[in-house]
């Protein structure tokens, strides 16, 4: 899809598909077009070019005479300051033609408790975000579209929201979320798309993205002994910052060994790691995108496609 604001092309041929039951993370630097993509997907904005479908329909039309089953949180929480939290949830439930019991259910899910009796004007930034997330869960929806849902949340609520998203996907629901929390995206998402300059640069399971895909970090008291044992297998490994890095995901790697294979090799050599973990992949993939390797601005041909 394509979308421009004035002379700026914000979405320059974004090609994105999220399947049912997926927990898809959209990540990328500020200005990459993530929020605009979500707005177009929800029908808040119209694409200037391309084809957009939400649950199989044009996102700007409702399913018959009923609201669609889509919950969303786009940018800052949108709350009427003089409504109480519960009234806000009730308003969303009524607007979405969901049962009113939904207001209490989602308040319970996020542990809002008696706070929902207070006007939203008295809420802290984090509580406003929690309430807006709860409002997105009213329905419950088939699809959740969330723009940075854990921004401003305390660790407890952040974990709770992440758990709820995981449970939603586990029950067959679909989640499309945009986030700058790479750690969360890596742990949570079944697939991640890296966006830059209005396009998808890379896409796939988070552990298979970027230069660190399939890499393990091993902390041992004797790195040299570990390197010797691993190279004897042979595994591609090297020493960095006191740790041993083992490459298992490269295309030229035979057999694609996992963490347990590495532990077994080390144990057989009498080397016992104090820590063995998969390298964070998204961080390096993200750095690659934001460090000048991002795609060039759209070509005249891309601009013509909008016409």
């Amino acid at each position: 899809m394509y979308r421009r604001f004035g002379r700026t092309l914000v979405l320059a041929g974004l090609d994105l598909r999220v399947d049912e039951g997926e927990l898809y993370g959209l990540i990328g630097p500020n200005g990459a077009g993530k929020t605009t993509a979500l707005r177009v997907a929800l029908g808040l904005l119209q694409a200037d070019g391309g084809r957009v479908r939400l649950l199989g329909r044009d996102p700007r039309s409702a399913a018959g005479s009923r609201p669609r089953r889509v919950g969303s949180l786009i940018e800052a929480p949108a709350l009427s300051p003089r409504l109480s939290g519960r009234e806000h949830l009730l308003l969303i439930a009524r607007w979405a033609q969901a049962p009113e019991a939904e207001a209490d259910r989602v308040a319970g899910l996020l542990g809002l408790g008696r706070m929902t009796e207070r006007p939203t004007a008295t809420y802290s930034t984090g509580m406003r975000q929690v309430l807006a997330t709860a409002a997105a869960l009213v329905g419950p929806p088939d699809l959740l579209v969330l723009d940075e849902p854990t921004v401003g949340l305390d660790p407890g609520h952040r974990r709770r929201v992440n758990d709820l998203l995981r449970e939603h996907a586990a029950r067959g629901g679909t989640v499309l979320l945009s986030s700058h929390q790479l750690e969360d995206a890596e742990r949570l998402c079944t697939r991640v798309g890296l966006m830059a300059a209005g396009r998808l640069v890379e896409e796939g399971p988070p552990t298979e993205l970027g230069p660190a895909a399939g890499r393990y970090e091993v902390t041992v008291s004797d790195p040299e002994a570990a390197l010797e044992a691993l190279r004897a297998v042979p595994l591609i490994c090297w020493r960095e910052d006191g740790r041993v890095l083992v490459e298992t995901g490269a295309a030229y790697q035979v057999g694609r060994p996992d963490g347990s294979a590495i532990a077994r090799v080390l144990a057989q050599a009498g080397v016992y790691p104090s820590d063995l973990r998969r390298s964070p992949t998204l961080e390096l993939a993200y750095a690659e995108v934001t460090s000048g390797l991002a795609p060039a601005p759209p070509t005249p041909a891309a601009l013509d496609a909008i016409q």
């Binding site: 604001f5 049912e20 039951g21 707005r39 929800l42 029908g43 808040l44 904005l45 119209q46 996102p59 700007r60 039309s61 409702a62 609201p67 669609r68 889509v70 919950g71 969303s72 786009i74 940018e75 800052a76 949108a78 709350l79 009427s80 300051p81 003089r82 409504l83 009234e87 009730l90 308003l91 969303i92 439930a93 009524r94 607007w95 979405a96 033609q97 969901a98 049962p99 009113e100 019991a101 939904e102 209490d104 259910r105 989602v106 308040a107 319970g108 899910l109 807006a132 409002a135 329905g139 419950p140 088939d142 579209v145 029950r171 067959g172």
Partner: protein, 274 residues
């Protein structure tokens, strides 16, 4: 079973598509949403201030007329009629400003975005806003009418006002109908300005520019236009002015239809950028 437990059980219902049980819906959801919003409006200081302003203006007008003893708005000693005639159209304009402010606030709070993301039908959202404005208009008109009678009755108590006869008189019914028409017309104009310009301040400024500057200042200075303004027409319906009644009714009806049609046609293409 408490509510949250019930929620958990429902959330955990089997099947990939969880559907809402229709039986648990009390009343019409759209009406319920309008009701909640109307309740929220009653808590806003701007709404309370506008209602107080209207009440003070009406009571003050009738009090001054009673003290002066020279009648009000061509209604002679009838303070009920005089009060309604004198305040119907200016009150409608004030009400329009109020509606522009409350409808425009939705854009500042971005609640429009949250609702349109759930249901992208622009006309449903515009209808929701207009329904809220209509509820507010009903309250405004009821308060205005009641106050006109109560204050006049209190002031005329010494003169022996016959409240029942006054209420049933055709002139009073016409004044009440005109007050309702002016309230609805200016309320619709206010809502339309806020919806089209996507903000409270822009909506209020646009309405005041049209209602005060356009109709009361500029049109009043140009004879051909002065008999065709909404203000003049609404005032004529209330029993003031000299333009033909048919023209007054037509101007009000056309103004209403144009504001409604224009607002819906423009808002139907709304792109939510903010």
């Amino acid at each position: 079973m408490n509510r949250s437990l019930a929620g958990w059980r429902w959330w955990g219902a089997e099947g990939r598509r969880l559907r809402a049980p229709l039986a648990s819906r009390p009343g019409h959801p759209f009406a319920g949403a309008v009701g909640l919003r109307a309740r929220e409006l009653a808590r806003r200081p701007a709404v309370v201030a506008a209602f107080s302003l209207q009440a003070t203006a009406l009571a003050g007008t009738e009090l001054l007329a009673a003290l002066g003893g020279d009648g009000l708005a061509g209604a002679g000693d009838d303070l009920v009629l005089g009060g309604l005639r004198a305040t119907a159209v200016p009150g409608g304009l004030v009400f329009g400003v109020l509606v522009a402010a409350v409808v425009g606030a939705e854009f500042a709070w971005a609640t429009e975005r949250a609702l349109l993301a759930r249901d992208p039908r622009r006309l449903r959202f515009a209808g929701y806003q207009l329904a809220v404005a209509a509820v507010l208009a009903g309250a405004w008109w009821a308060v205005q009418s009641l106050l006109a009678v109560v204050v006049a009755a209190l002031l005329q108590a010494g003169g022996g006002i016959d409240a029942g006869a006054a209420w049933n008189a055709p002139a009073h019914r016409a004044a009440l109908a005109a007050a309702l028409a002016a309230t609805l017309l200016y309320g619709l104009l206010g809502a339309a300005c806020a919806l089209v310009l996507r903000g409270a301040l822009a909506g209020v400024v646009a309405l005041l520019a049209y209602g005060l500057l356009g109709e009361l200042v500029l049109a009043a200075r140009w004879a051909p236009a002065s008999g065709w303004t909404l203000y003049t027409a609404a005032a004529r319906l209330a029993g003031q002015g000299t333009i033909p009644m048919a023209r007054a009714a037509m101007v009000v009806a056309v103004g209403f239809a144009a504001a409604l049609g224009g607002c819906l046609a423009i808002y139907a293409r709304r792109q939510v950028r903010d």
